[in-house]
């Protein structure tokens, strides 16, 4: 069979905090809620563990979108982690936007352990957004794209 028309499948990296969002992702699975396989989750203890370096690294290595999920503000397992993460990501995303990187490629979403449905919905929506944007060209590293 001939594979016709190469459909663009984005690569999406999702950083999920262990206590809320990763559990939320598990719940989405337990409830059999579909979202695209383009999303790959990396477990971190807390959203405040996410270093801007990781996000840039993902783009360098070929990610088309990066999303960070954490506990809702105020519900952080470590009390304050997501508040710091929120400031860091706000500033980082604003900077990426300022440098002309499409702002829709980065996102933060707060997903609790009980919000499996929200997790799936968020991922569906994010994948759709990134798919529309197409391949990440503005923050790519050509060396990593050569196959």
């Amino acid at each position: 069979m001939q594979v016709n028309e190469k459909e663009f499948k984005p690569t999406i990296v999702a950083f999920c905090c262990n206590w809320c969002s990763y559990a939320g992702a598990d719940l989405a699975g337990t409830n059999r809620l579909n979202y695209p396989a383009d999303v790959k989750i990396i477990r971190v203890p807390c959203s405040c563990r996410v270093n801007p370096m990781f996000i840039l690294r993902a783009f360098q290595r070929g990610a088309d979108g990066v999303i960070m999920c954490g506990c809702h503000p105020g519900d952080c397992h470590y009390t304050t982690g997501n508040y710091y993460a929120r400031r860091r990501m706000t500033l980082l995303f604003s900077m990426l936007d300022y440098l002309g990187i499409e702002r829709e490629r980065t996102r933060v979403e707060w997903v609790s352990a009980a919000e499996g449905a929200k997790f799936a919905a968020t991922m569906n929506e994010f994948v759709e957004t990134v798919t529309k944007l197409g391949e990440n060209k503005r923050l790519e590293d050509l060396r990593c794209k050569e196959k």
């Binding site: 290595r61 070929g62 990593c144 050569e146």
Partner: protein, 341 residues
């Protein structure tokens, strides 16, 4: 000697770019000049010098050496070199032109650096005599004549005309190639310009800079001078001087893991960097003083010691204008003058 009206410069470039790449100094949008691949209509910069020297045509800032492709546990080794295109670098000043002979001594000596050699073979250098030297120029101290640059072909630019003269086989080929846009030229305006510039040269503030205190035989006196401490005290350890220098030739070899394999590349290194020549055991030059000293000792002592007295500096003056703290080879030479007597 051929000439053409400056009004027709674009025609010359067009002819030169035929079947290959042409690089000319062009303004970079930030008020400075850099060698840029010519495209139709691009104008040549009026600046005396480009920020980076022309050495990158033969010794690029980063250059792939070998690619390793990994598939599972299999590794494939690939030579990434693809360049076969001939290119012309136009408008190289005398100082930069001299730097190529210095770099050749390093890269073309046994063992020959084939990456460098290949680029050197593909490149034709068309130089441009200086008409407005600046206060930072001191090429004459190193025996460079800015009015008579080396190169495959030499150009002189007067008010309204450009004169061109081939010096080598490659230069003749170049002139042949662009001959259609040239007319025969008379050497008189060129000589007049040379004379005018020669008038200016002695008036340059650094005209009297002397290399007498330096050379391959001055090693120990200079190495142990107590003055290195104050000279290096304010050095930031950045690589500006090194990266704008036409003769600095140190490089580092690094591996970049791409996810599908490894790209081994070399990139310019700077002796000013804290990890310069870092080896498995650590770093032999641990302080900024030692690294700072290395740079100047290399240019003024080690290089002449190994190359029949030829200094590793061409007096372009880039480091004088670009050092963030205005420390430079001239200040070093002036301070150390007399140390070796």
């Amino acid at each position: 000697m051929f000439k053409l009206s400056l009004n027709n410069l674009n025609d010359l470039f067009k002819a030169a770019a035929e079947g290959g790449a042409l690089y000319i100094p062009a303004d970079d949008g930030a008020g400075q000049a850099r060698f840029t691949r010519w495209c139709d209509g691009m104008e040549m910069s009026k600046a005396l010098k480009t920020v980076k020297s022309a050495k990158e045509f033969f010794f690029p800032q980063t250059e792939s050496l070998v690619d390793f492709k990994m598939k599972g546990k299999e590794i494939e080794i690939i030579d990434p070199r693809t360049e076969s295109e001939d290119f012309v670098v136009f408008g190289v000043r005398a100082c930069d032109a001299r730097s190529f002979s210095i770099l050749d001594k390093v890269f073309l000596a046994d063992p020959v650096d084939t990456y460098y050699k290949s680029r050197r073979e593909h490149g034709t250098i068309v130089t441009m005599a200086c008409s407005r030297p600046e206060e930072t120029c001191f090429c004459t101290a190193f025996g460079v004549d800015p009015t008579a640059p080396e190169g495959d072909a030499v150009c002189y630019m007067t008010e309204d005309e450009l004169f061109i003269e081939a010096k080598t086989e490659k230069g003749t080929a170049f002139v042949e190639k662009v001959k259609a846009v040239l007319t025969d030229g008379d050497a008189a305006p060129v000589e007049a310009q040379k004379a005018a510039v020669k008038e200016i040269l002695p008036k340059l503030p650094l005209a009297n800079l002397s290399t007498d205190s330096f050379g391959g035989d001055k090693l120990m006196e200079l190495f142990d001078s107590p003055k290195w401490a104050e000279l290096s005290a304010s050095c930031l350890g950045c690589g500006t001087c090194t990266f704008v220098c036409p003769t600095c030739q140190c490089y580092d070899i690094r591996d970049f893991e791409t996810g599908h394999g490894v790209k081994r590349f070399r990139c310019w290194d700077s002796c000013m960097f804290s990890d310069f020549t870092k080896m498995a055991h650590g770093n032999p030059r641990l302080t900024q003083l030692e690294r700072f000293r290395q740079r100047f000792m290399h240019k003024l002592v080690y290089f002449p010691a190994n190359n029949d007295g030829e200094f590793g500096c061409v007096g372009c003056g880039r480091c004088l204008s670009k050092c963030p703290i205005s420390m430079n080879i001239v200040k070093v030479m002036k301070t150390l003058e007399g140390e070796s007597k």
